[in-house]
Symmetry: D3
Subunit: 138 residues, 6 copies
């Protein structure tokens, strides 16, 4: 159970109601996910997080074209969330990649890559291996 | 400086020399990266890690077709490594995505998505937000 | 469900009973939190953790004055727990900051700062940005 | 060494130059920290991160009053960065808390609290201790 | 609830059925743990993970002798899982160390060491302490 | 470079000098490691950390018998440090396990186990796999 009371859509007014509406329209959802209902307990933060997430994850909604496609962005989100062990986020981004067409077998590949590098990260750190020499990316 | 002495290519023999050759051929490299030279201090582990990494990251080399393309796989590797703060791995996978055509602006998008979800993971965990309801992926 | 059986207050004797009493008195609680009931399965560890936590978090109880006030200490505890995603700890320290007067809006600011820097940590690590030059703190 | 080339102040133009100037003015700095010079390789991301950081960490610069004071905000930043082991961020936020008056002894208390709860987080997770019962914060 | 449907033992055929049988025989279990039933949604990954885990954790089953004894290996697994806060893994490896004879008091020592170094790691990182000088291990 | 100035052995007096002497005697070292020289900037914290570490890692020095042997304790310390990517700690605990007789091949096994479970932790979390049923440890 969340440590704060979730704001219900029916009680949202003003800026919060407008953001709730924008979230549902942009993400094509019927209801506002719990994440945003919790953030609404501090409207300033709700707006900051939504504005940034919308800009990064839905550039199309702002008339910009992202360099990464929507599925790649959601796969990164899932990889980060699995690495951090965030239950809410894993459920949410698994649903998102599924909606974007990733099936259970391809999800298995995502998890295989995530697991592989969580493992090799521990090896490289655990032996304090020095980076090979590469020039910085210009 | 690594906590163990790196195995030099010139001193590798037998199974280790064969794996070193396979690494260079599969990854089209002129020299063996430090990671593998450290793992070679325990040849059994060298083989286990290389076999698995080759299978997951280079399925084409084994005549299989992966469901994810090579750039997506390297982007996941970089996202995991940035989340874990693994210096060696970040350098290595940044070089890999660059080789596969990702420029500095697109790298900025990858980092933006990685940062965004490391942030929202902390929020979702920090409030103990319960997952929205989704059916399991069949 | 915890992986070990919790020690009940009614079955505690000797040193464990004394520590349980000290925990309730120092923290002004009516019952012993689960954390301490689990640690009581190894009385040596119970004493080590409680002694240290009391000294750091309740210096006033030992006649010392801490340099940080109690609310700041609990906010740090919550920030660390949110970053690590520790469910028990997040619940416990959210209750503590609430008791010390932090309302839901101010909690939103704490979470905003926690999320912001979990994000920027990933960016700074993800690009391997070198520290700016600062002299060490004397 | 960073994986991308840092943007020099002298080569910044347009929106990037304006943000560089705002960073120096808001943070009262003589030069632009490396973090922002790296982010400038993708101007959209530079703007998104700076806008959000300014709003959360410098609400006074926007005519708003934060609920947390500047030192508490920087202490949270340092606690998160120490937990994640982000070298750049630790250096940067240690310099910030020092500027705001935290001396080396008080820094010792911050680190003691950070260490204590990184330890107890592992215990609470390691035994899978169930949360004590608390009502959500209204 | 897992984000994918678990493969039931009764529906497993071919390579998956063979691996399920090998898992039960090698680990002396009556049923296949959930972890492997989830991995079976991608048979290639099931095989890769099982092959590697068997080689590292059950070398005896392959006629090799490991340098670490089985209890030490499971203690490492538990220490890593507690540090990462992985609920499934903590439950599983606690059951494993128990089966291998570790009682609740000794488990308390494992957790004490895990907690201690999660704490000191944060201190060493938090102050950016430079390593003492040691020669690499030959 | 550490963010604070290290306390030199030659300038230590009173309680700090006594703890420095105890560290060298207990750990059979010729000089005080950097970790303790940094902690000495806050003598109260130096004492708290040393007292606890001595009790957990050197119970023999206090006339108690630990349930884990010294090598197992140091292996856990190394596994935790590799998982957290703490450079100082990895160097320090690698030196410790080496002193206790672990050679480079056995170190390879430790790292293999650490890497394996950092990987499987990500899988178990990444699919949100529910724990198998085990009774709590009595």
């Amino acid at each position: 159970m969340a440590t704060v009371r979730l704001v219900d859509e029916s009680e949202a007014t003003g800026a919060v109601a407008a953001i709730f509406a924008d979230i549902k329209a942009t993400k094509k959802l019927d209801s506002v996910p719990n994440f945003w209902r919790v953030l609404a307990t501090n409207p300033t933060q709700l707006e900051l997080v939504w504005t940034r997430l919308k800009s990064i994850m839905h550039p199309e909604a702002e008339g910009r074209t992202g360099r990464l496609d929507p599925l790649t962005r959601e796969i990164i989100a899932l990889a980060v969330s699995a690495t951090n062990g965030c239950a809410y986020c894993i459920n949410s981004h698994t649903a998102a990649v599924r909606k974007l067409g990733l099936d259970v077998e391809a999800l298995g590949e995502v998890m295989a890559v995530v697991a592989l590098f969580n493992g090799t990260n521990a090896i490289a750190n655990g032996y304090q291996i020095e980076p090979d020499v590469f020039p910085p990316l210009d």
